[in-house]
Amino acid sequence: MTAPLVTLTGIAKRFGGVTALCGLSMELYPGEVHALLGENGAGKSTLVNILAGVHRPDAGTIALGGSEVTIPHPRAARALGISVVHQHPVLFPDLTVAENIIFTQPAPRRRTRLLDWPAVERNARTALDRLGAHLDPRTPVNQLSSADQQLLEIAKALLGETRLLILDEPTAALSAREVDRLMDIVRRLKADGVAVLFVGHRLNEVFELADRVTVSRDGTTVISGPANEFTPESAVRHMVGRAVENVFPKAEVELGEVKLEVRGLTRRDAYHDVSLQVRRGEILGLAGLVGAGRTEIARGLFGLDPADSGEILVDGRPVAIRSPRDAMARRIAYVPEDRHTEGVALDHSIRFNLPLAALDGMRRFGLLSARREAELAAGAIDRLRIRTSGPDQQVAALSGGNQQKVVLGKWLATDPEILILDDPTKGIDVGAKAEVHQLVSEQAAKGLAIILISNELEELLAVADRVVTFYRGRQGPEFARRPFDAEQVLGAMTGQVAHALA
């Protein structure tokens, strides 16, 4: 084995009172994919930010190609050949695709020193085409889907000379096809001798790609070694510090009568002629690629963007759902796709957030009872196993999984009978993921009718009782019998299989 490209020794970083890293050490070799695993909050992104020049370590050294370096700012990192795909895309939503790439590399300019826009746009197009993302360089980024934004973020990182490519959860928003393309590119770069640091929570992807694995916990390295010395189970044990029995618990539940039925639901430019049924105690999975229209259907059911035509029946009676309040009156709850912008008020406390959807039910003479609020918070923290220093902690300071539990808690406080979950485990670690599945399972057992949307097929197939597929806004085949055939479902999701072979 050659000399390491990057050697990190004793890296430490504190944010105020929080210790994100303490004495983390690892080595990255050229031509190797190195996976960094750890729970939410283990300090992975902090390490990435240190290598990217965003943060400076409080202690420890970074050696690049044998000599010690400091990386004072992001431009220094790029000059050293370090390219980063950040966990949350580092984009400027009001600027266009092309404008977003000009800060990454020296932008093409004319002799007048003004920007050469045709060249900028050409560059952007080339970079995106490499990923198979055919985006118009003039589109403002805020009009892109989150998947396309992620692709743009990756495209930016692949511009220019790269010696070390860092991918911090690049696949959270991507569909299978795009993940495959990314994997191909990573393999190509690896062959060219680039070192790749890969951070991810989807263990199957990690083990498909990684040559070496480092597991970190509480800011330090727990173990590091060749990938073939790990199994997903052993990696999880190191991450969590205990064995996680079952990531996808599945309770056997006696199904009740049909709780929610949808007939011929249609919304222009979004979905067409959708018909579904969910029973009490049942978890119905909606499978599809990103952009298949599942979120739109969920929003239609919740009254955020009501459908143009079609019928919604709750308990067999047709209901009109024109607003979230209508939906809530039917005891429908919706855990949205993007917990940061749709799920929780980040700059407020857990205690503030939990009663938000149930305020009308818990006020007396217009006032909130502090006691009931405290009870709600304490109950949710306890029942949902939210890890926090207390109900007054800001939600922004919680890990992703715990934030998601707050969203779930907010909706469970409304005492729902129908629960729609849109990608509830996006970006959260295995331990938390198992807990979320456990909670969903418990709710199903209590007789809730659950609709689960997920981009992680493995999860969907393991947790759902029944799976309906969607392809570009149209309903595809339905798979009603467990265990499901992954190839078949994937085929249906991608429009290749027209009928369920069930």
């Binding site: 400027f92 404008e99 000009i102 800060f103 920007l115 985006l135 392809y471 570009r472 994937l490 290749q496």
Partner: protein, 338 residues
């Protein structure tokens, strides 16, 4: 587990192609402006003509100059509500210098105003950029501080055109081949600002900072410097506006340009600059100022009672921004359909 064989052909890119929203904004504003011109030409026969054009160009110059600066600040997700006071203070300083020493070369009062403006802008910029405190608070505070300084400096003094040498008032009144000099200043500033904003990395970085402050930090964009720069430039432009204010309106006292910040803010926001940062363009700002100026001139020429003026002006502003919104939605819908 994902096999590439079953993947569908890539989605046609045309489905997501959209026209840039900036172009839409300018197009719809130009439509509103055109509509106003037509309406006024029909209502007031004297409106249509070169004289009006000249007057519009000269009248909007000071607003445009200050608004260009304000836009830079708004791009970065900040605001400067002290511009009215800065214009007033610099206007007084320059006029006082030239009135006290009429023999001095013109560069002296101009330099005084520009330098003072720059310093005032830099004070705002330093407070906002280095201490990262809310800009509305800082500049609402300096609005009062600068106005107080103006009042302390000017006291009961009033400098009128008679105290200024003719060469000073000529700064505002010259014209060449029928093109007002006021327009020339504004045009030079606007073109320069547009080139910087639209066609340089610095300009795009300004918008980027406002669009995503966290992203800017991670990209290594020096947001602090940009914010400071935007305020300093705004101060400088207010200094220029101050000189022109005195030269054009001929009377400067401690209340000059009092409340002007709202006029400027209206022009900038009508021009499509988002007060939450990141979005807007200089041509949009020019159109916003033009819309406001045309409304003002058109209504003044229209034989309405002065008691009706303010109400109609307010109403027209509301109608204009509503129309602009409707037009933009139309254009966006058409862009999607095409």
């Amino acid at each position: 587990m994902h096999s590439p064989e079953v993947l569908p052909p890539p989605a046609p890119p045309a489905a997501r192609r959209r026209r840039s929203p900036f172009a839409q904004r300018e197009l719809s504003l130009a439509g509103v402006l055109l509509g106003l011109l037509v309406v006024f030409s029909v209502l007031v026969p004297r409106f249509a003509g070169l004289d009006t054009l000249r007057q519009v160009l000269a009248d909007m110059a000071i607003v445009v100059i200050v608004a260009a600066g304000q836009a830079l600040v708004l791009f970065t997700r900040n605001i400067d509500v002290s511009v009215g006071s800065t214009v007033g203070l610099t206007a007084y300083a320059a006029a006082a210098v030239i009135a006290a020493h009429p023999g001095l070369p013109l560069v002296v009062p101009i330099a005084v105003a520009l330098l003072l403006g720059l310093v005032l802008g830099a004070i705002n910029g330093a407070l906002v950029a280095t201490l990262k405190v809310p800009s509305i608070m800082v500049t609402l505070g300096t609005l009062y501080v600068f106005r107080g300084a103006d009042s302390a400096l000017a006291g009961s003094q009033q400098i009128t055109a008679q105290n200024m040498p003719p060469s000073y008032t000529a700064l505002a009144s010259w014209s060449v081949a029928g093109i007002p000099g006021m327009f020339v200043y504004a045009a030079v500033i606007v073109v320069a600002a547009h080139l910087v904003v639209r066609h340089t990395l610095t300009g795009r970085a300004l918008l980027a900072t406002g669009s995503g402050p966290d992203s800017a930090e991670r990209m290594g964009i020096k947001a602090g410097k940009l914010v400071f720069g935007a305020y300093a430039v705004t101060g400088l432009l207010c200094g220029i506006a101050g000189v022109l204010w005195g030269a054009r309106y001929g009377t400067v006292d401690s209340s000059a340009a009092n409340g002007y910040e709202l006029v400027v803010l209206a022009a900038v926001v009508i021009g499509g600059v988002s007060i939450t940062g990141g979005a807007g363009s200089i041509p949009g700002v020019v159109l916003g100022a033009a819309v406001l100026t045309v409304i003002g001139i058109g209504l003044a020429l229209l034989d309405v009672s002065p008691f009706w003026l303010q109400a109609i002006q307010g109403l027209v502003i509301i109608v204009a921004i509503t129309l602009d919104l409707v037009l933009r939605r139309r254009l966006a819908a058409r862009g999607r359909a095409a």
